[in-house]
Each structure stands twice: as structure tokens, then as C-alpha cells.
Symmetry: C2
Subunit: 451 residues, 2 copies
């Protein structure tokens, strides 16, 4: 879909020309996101103010052009891809961060980097908990659009648990202000709508007092079942570590190849815990005891920030490590009730043996959110087929275990064809009606979510 | 609005006649709720199954009659009142409760009594935390419709935090199944929509492990400022009691008149705490120490269930006690950021001195939710005027303190005229669009929420 001359001319006349681009040879990052798929938009606009976002929405209405908002492009479901062409509006420069210590809130632009918000809060002894693995790069606006979770979400909740209010622009180009007291769950409608209903222009976040730091505990197991038993036993004991991550043996191997300086002991599975708050020391001791009971090897305890950061770095780089080991990966983030996680992990390892590609997994053990990676050459027809088959089987198993197809990455384009498996026709119909009601011209992020 | 002959005949033909009533002389409870306002419906249907709810919705569409769902009628905002006549459908007999200990969930009918759900869960060592003061009578369906909070909500959250899924009937009479993973915040749209969008037919609730019981602490203060300081200091110390209730001096007096057997020491303010969980004993000791620092009188500690129940009974009966003392009351449940609560309480006591009626207050100190009662004779013109003036001033002050007009009771008919003060025209417009999209004929609970 190329722009016609009139559309191009209206864009050039309406938006500040020095921040509008039609050529992507030097800007290929704006044609993709973490899915590795490539969709060049018709035009790119680097917005700097809310007023410019309003202009962009109105402009797209006027010339009937799709509008796609892009944060940092770290999403795994294609939410920021211009799949039908259109005007891609980057919000990365709308990134102001204002911390209010009196109300313990942060008022931020949608382009503010999640990690920068955390740092700004920490300076005031405050805490923004949601930490998707990409938090050092991801934008808060994208976190809201996908309702991102993160490593700490079992204890501290997900993005929407910290959004007090937001300003945005509706599909008619009108500013709308919503807060947590707005009826009809309007705030929850905006958060997690994957850019298909609204454009965020300003976000007010709730902050917590910075908890007392605790310890990081790394434990490797020779048997995945032992690791799963540790998770079950820690949970049953009422211990809530702020993080409890799982990584399978193949993921460990990928990490070691990618980052040999921070080598993890090889094994069938690794667990990585972090404790915090008043009960941290007791919880650390209790977790250590459970790990020992299940014959953990390479049990490491870190209580200084450098050692801790090293241990976490391996987990945060894991997505890149797996990708670099296998050149390309299809990553799915399914989620099952935590009690069903051992069954799902066992299924993934059986699946890995059956398929002619590698399959590995890691994820947030506490809330049953598992990232399963299908690792093959996307160009290769046979491997492609195996990936598709693997994804379908994984989804079927997840639903059979009463799980959901996406824990935190969103539906976007990668999961929209599977929507009908998880959601009833009545749910789909209700969503269609809402989309049609709020964006009758299908202007905002078209081609996403709906099959 | 009387039924015409054709409408009446269709109702009689469609619904089981032994459970349809047109005369309310012996059924006056179905003409009112806790607001004391009286609105007789045109007809009452005591539904017993989901299929009958579907029939009722389709019937009302066919004969163009408003449909109102009624739980236990304990609401304070008029959500269950047939303000435009119509068919009132009671769900009180759709009250099955099934506890699943494996998944720690409860699948319940919308008419199940909240307190019965708690009891059924407790038998399995499980815990349903949301406890609106009326929980011994209120239906879970009504709790969902208003997203009820309760005494424990600071620590444990509100109703919507425990709803995993629900089935319901949309305004077209179609069954719709929604769960917490449904996109577009559909579950949050259903919960808290005050019966204006959907009819609940089955609800799946998340349960927690029953926490270790702790202690109840009652403390009376000679000065409201001291009580507020205790709340502030307990909160600042990171102590999260599962309940932290505030009651002013006039409310104490009402309670003592209503229930002299459980007399509370007279004073300017009372605080009632409850601790639970692993840290309960430490928290109890810390709370007691802070109360003593601020010269609490009549400090009582209860660690056996009978003494505890007696202390709580006074709080749970408080609404009735206030009503019985003053014959009639207008009760508003405003909510401000917890740090602003002392300012709001001080304002209410200034307001009480200015107005020619009694004003008292009590509420959930932990989350800034204050129930303010304007106590006058509703028939009396002068007192009526004072009540209206008091309510308006309270709302203005609440908004000035960055609060919200309803903490947990909903908007219904009692607050709809004030919607425009709190919500922007764009928010109101968005809500109108959603209502129109999901209930184009304004069939379900008309006359509520929207001014």
C-alpha cells in the first residue's frame, strides 16, 4: 500500500517535516520489532508532544490511513508493526518522568523507558515493580498497551496494577482522561488493548516504598521434576519471593554460550529466586533449605548488588542468548495455573524430543507463565512446518491445562489466528462490538488482535 | 408506568406463573433497597436458573420493558431499584456454591450470600477476603455489580481482585463467558457496571489459603487527630493490618445506644484493627505500641474468636445503629488518598457544626474510604435542604483532596447527578458509547449511572 500523492502531501503539510520520514533504508529498526517480521510503514513520524499525537490521529482520519504507535519495538506479538502500512508514530521522544514523593506517583510520557522510571523512583526511595525482561529498553506506553508482566509479577502484580490514570487520544482524535475510579473499567479497557483503541499520551503510575533488598538464590537441578517440586513446596509454605524464575537445561546452555563470563552450572533446570522486604532473611533461609532438600547443585547466594546483578544479567539476556544460539526463534508466552506448570514443562520436553527442531523454555514459575521457544530456520520449509505444529500443540496443551495463550506478550498478529481456540464466539463478538464502537473506521492499529 | 394488557399476558405466558408477581403489598421489600427509596416494579420474577435469566432478558426485549436484576437489596446507591418500572428479576435463589480445593476456586450462583461463600471456603481451609459490611446478607452478584470493597480491602483488595471468570447474559439475551485473560478488560467491564450492561449467571472466584488468625485491637481516642496520627504512623511503619477501621464519636454513641451489651468507651474516635498471617503477633504488638504512644483509652485486645466477634459486631451493625438512632440517613462513601484522610475527617466535623443536622462518619482508614452520614428527617424541607447542601460540599471537598465520589457503593441513582463533577466530558462520552454499543435499546437497568 503506497501513499498516493495527495496523502503524502497532506502529511508533509500537516506534520513538522524534519521529523517525518518516507525512506527506511537508514531506519530499518522502524520496520520491525522483536518478532523479527518486517513491515515497512508508509511514513514515520517522530512525535514530541501530545498535541502532535492529536494531529497525527486527525490526519490519519482525514486521509484514511492506518495509524500505528511504536514505543521501543521490544514487543513479541507484533503490536508495533505497520502490517497494513500507514503512518507509524514513534513516541520514544515523549519521555518525561516526574516523580512526586508526596503522592508516591510518577507522571510519565508514554515513551519513557521503564528502567529509567525505576531508576528515577529509586533515587527517591520509591519503587516501580513491573519489570518485563526488556525493561532497560522497553517504553512504558508499550508496557501499558500489552499490560506487561515481568519477573516480579507474582509478588507485585503486572503493569495495570500500577496505573492510576492516563491521558490518551481516542480514534476520533479527542483527548480522553481516565483514572482508576472511572466506571465501566475504562482504565482496564485502555490498558492491554494493544494500541487498537487508544493512543496513550500521559501516564500516572503508583509507586511503592522501596523494599529492603534481600538475596538472590541460584540453584541448579539434575532433574526438572526436582525443580518443579521446589517451586511447589516454596509456594505451599506461603513464601512469596519477589522473583522465582525457571530455566530449562537447553536455555542454560544457550546462556553459557552467549555469556561465558557468567557461566551457570549445566543441569536439567535452574531456579533463580529473589527475596525482599521485612521477611527477606527468613525467606532466603527457607528457600535455601528447600533447594537443598531436593539436591540442588551449584547453590549460590548473592547478597551484594554486584553478584546479584551478574546472576540477573543472565536471565535478562536469555531471550537474546537463545536467539543468538539458534539464529531465529518463535517465542510463545503461555500461562497455566501455577499448580499445572510441572505438567506443562514435562510436555514441552516431550514435544522437544518429537519435533525435528529444538524447543526450550524458561519463565516465571510463580505465576505459571512459561516462555516456550521453537528454534528453527524460519526460511526452511520443513522447520517452518515443525514450528507451526509445535506452536499448535503447545496451545492445545495449554488450554487443556486451563491456561491462556498469552501471559504478558499480547495477541497482536502472532496469536490472533488462535483467538477462537481460547475465547468463545460471544467474547469475540463483544470485542468486535467494542472495537467498532470506539474505532468505527478501524483506523488505530488495524490488523491486530482480530482474526 | 403500568404494564399494558399485552405485556402482562406475554409475561404470564413466558415465565413460570407461580414465580411471577404483580402485587407488592406483601412483598414491599422488592420495592426498595438500603437507600430507603421506594420504586415498585411492574412485575417481579423469582428466577431459579440461567436459562430463566435468558428468557427474562429476551422477554423484556420483546415487550420493550426495562429489566432490573436484584440480589439481596443491600445496596446504597439504588442499583437494584426499578426506577422506571419494568421487570425486576430476583436472583436470590440462584445461590449454589461449589468449592474446588484443587484449584482453590469457588463457582457460585449470583444469588449466593457472600458470607455463605466465606463459610464454605473456610470449611476447606480457604479464604474469600472481600467483606462488605453487609456480607452476611449481600449477594455475590450484587458485590460484583458494584465491585464491593469491605473492611479487609486495603490488605486483600476488592471484589474484582477475586473474580477469575463469569458467565452472563448480554442485553441481546445471549450468553457470554468472560475470564481474566479476556482482552479489552472485558471482565472489568462486566464487574462494576452496576447491572447496566450484563446479567451475571455464574461466577468463578479465586480463593486464598486461610491465613493464621491474629488479634483484634480496639482503641478509643480523646482527639480525632490522635487517631489519624496512629493510622499514619502504622501505615508509615509498613504494617498492613488486614483491617483498620475508623469511627467518630457520634458513631460510637449511636452504636452504644443500638447495642448497649457491647458498649464502646465514649471518645472522639475509635480505631479497630485486625491482624492476620505469619507476622500477626509482631504487628499486633507494634500497633498496640503506637496506640499507647497517642494516649489511647480503653485499649482492648481480643485473641479469642468470641471476644473478637463481639468487637466486630459493633462495626458491622454500625450502619443499622446510625439509622435506628436518627430514623433516616443519607450515607455517602467518598474515598480520598489515605494521606488526605485526616483532612477529610476534620472537614466533616467542621461541616457537622455548620449544618442544622447531625453528620457523622466511619470507614476504612487504610484506604481512605469514609462513609459520611447526613442524619435528618427526609420529609422535612429544611433538613432536606441541609442534607443536599452537606452532600454537595462533601463531594467538592473530596474532589479537591483528589478523591473519588464513591469508594465501593457505586453510582446508581444516588450519585449520577454528580458524575459530571468527577469525570470529564470525554470519559462520560466514552461511557455513553459503550452503553449504547452493548445495550442499544437501554433495556438493562435503565436510569442508572448516566445523568
Amino acid at each position: 500500500m503506497a501513499l498516493n500523492a495527495q496523502q503524502k502531501s497532506v502529511i508533509q503539510k500537516t506534520l513538522p517535516s524534519e521529523r517525518v520520514f518516507f525512506d527506511f533504508s537508514d531506519r530499518s529498526e522502524y520496520t520491525k520489532d522483536a518478532t523479527e517480521m518486517i513491515f515497512p510503514p508508509d511514513a514515520l513520524f517522530m512525535a514530541e508532544t501530545e498535541e502532535e499525537l492529536v494531529q497525527a490521529v486527525r490526519l490519519c482520519r482525514q486521509i484514511e490511513l492506518p495509524l500505528i504507535i511504536r514505543g521501543a519495538g521490544t514487543g513479541y506479538s507484533g503490536g508495533a508493526l505497520a502490517v497494513q502500512g500507514g503512518l507509524l508514530v514513534s513516541i520514544e521522544n515523549i519521555d518525561e518522568i516526574k516523580i512526586d514523593t508526596r503522592t508516591k506517583t510518577a507522571v510519565v510520557g508514554p515513551g519513557a523507558i521503564t528502567g529509567d522510571i525505576m531508576k528515577a523512583a529509586e533515587k527517591e526511595n520509591l519503587f516501580y515493580p513491573p519489570d518485563p525482561a526488556s525493561f532497560k529498553e522497553s517504553c512504558i506506553g508499550g508496557n501499558l498497551a500489552e499490560n506487561a508482566g515481568g519477573l516480579r509479577c507474582k509478588k507485585y502484580g503486572v503493569t495495570k496494577d500500577y496505573v492510576l490514570a492516563c491521558r490518551g487520544i481516542d480514534a476520533e482524535g479527542k483527548i480522553i482522561e481516565i483514572d482508576h475510579s472511572s466506571p465501566f473499567g475504562l482504565l482496564d479497557l485502555m490498558i492491554g488493548s494493544e494500541g487498537t483503541l487508544f493512543v496513550f499520551s500521559e501516564i500516572t503510575l503508583r509507586l511503592l516504598d522501596l523494599p529492603r533488598p534481600g538475596n538472590t538464590i541460584q540453584a541448579v537441578f539434575d532433574d526438572t521434576v526436582d525443580a518443579a517440586s521446589v517451586v511447589a513446596e516454596v509456594t505451599a509454605a506461603g513464601i512469596v519471593p519477589c522473583i522465582m524464575e525457571f530455566m530449562d537445561g537447553d536455555a542454560i546452555a544457550c546462556s553459557n554460550r552467549y555469556d561465558p563470563d557468567h557461566r551457570i552450572e549445566e543441569g536439567a533446570a535452574m531456579l533463580l529466586f529473589e527475596t525482599d522486604g521485612a521477611a527477606a532473611d527468613n525467606e532466603t533461609a527457607a528457600i535455601k533449605a528447600v533447594c537443598e532438600k531436593y539436591a540442588a547443585t551449584a547453590l549460590r547466594l548473592a547478597d551484594d548488588s554486584e553478584t546479584r546483578e551478574n546472576l540477573w544479567q543472565t536471565r535478562r539476556n536469555l531471550s537474546k542468548a537463545v536467539k543468538s544460539a539458534y539464529k531465529s526463534k518463535i517465542s510463545e508466552d503461555v500461562c497455566v495455573p501455577p499448580s499445572r506448570l510441572p505438567q506443562l514443562v514435562a510436555y514441552v520436553s516431550r514435544l522437544a524430543k518429537k519435533l525435528p527442531i529444538r524447543v526450550n523454555c524458561y519463565g516465571h514459575a510463580g505465576d505459571g507463565n512459561l516462555h516456550v521457544n521453537f528454534l528453527g530456520q524460519i526460511g526452511d520449509k520443513k522447520e517452518n512446518q515443525a514450528i507451526t505444529e509445535g506452536v499448535e500443540r503447545l496451545f492445545d496443551k495449554t488450554l487443556a491445562l486451563e491456561g491462556t495463550l498469552t501471559g504478558e506478550h499480547g495477541i497482536g498478529i502472532t496469536k490472533k489466528d488462535y483467538m477462537g481456540r481460547e475465547f468463545s464466539p460471544s467474547t469475540m463478538r463483544c470485542m468486535h462490538r467494542l472495537k467498532k464502537c470506539l474505532d468505527p473506521e478501524n483506523l488505530v492499529n488495524p490488523g491486530k488482535i482480530f482474526p
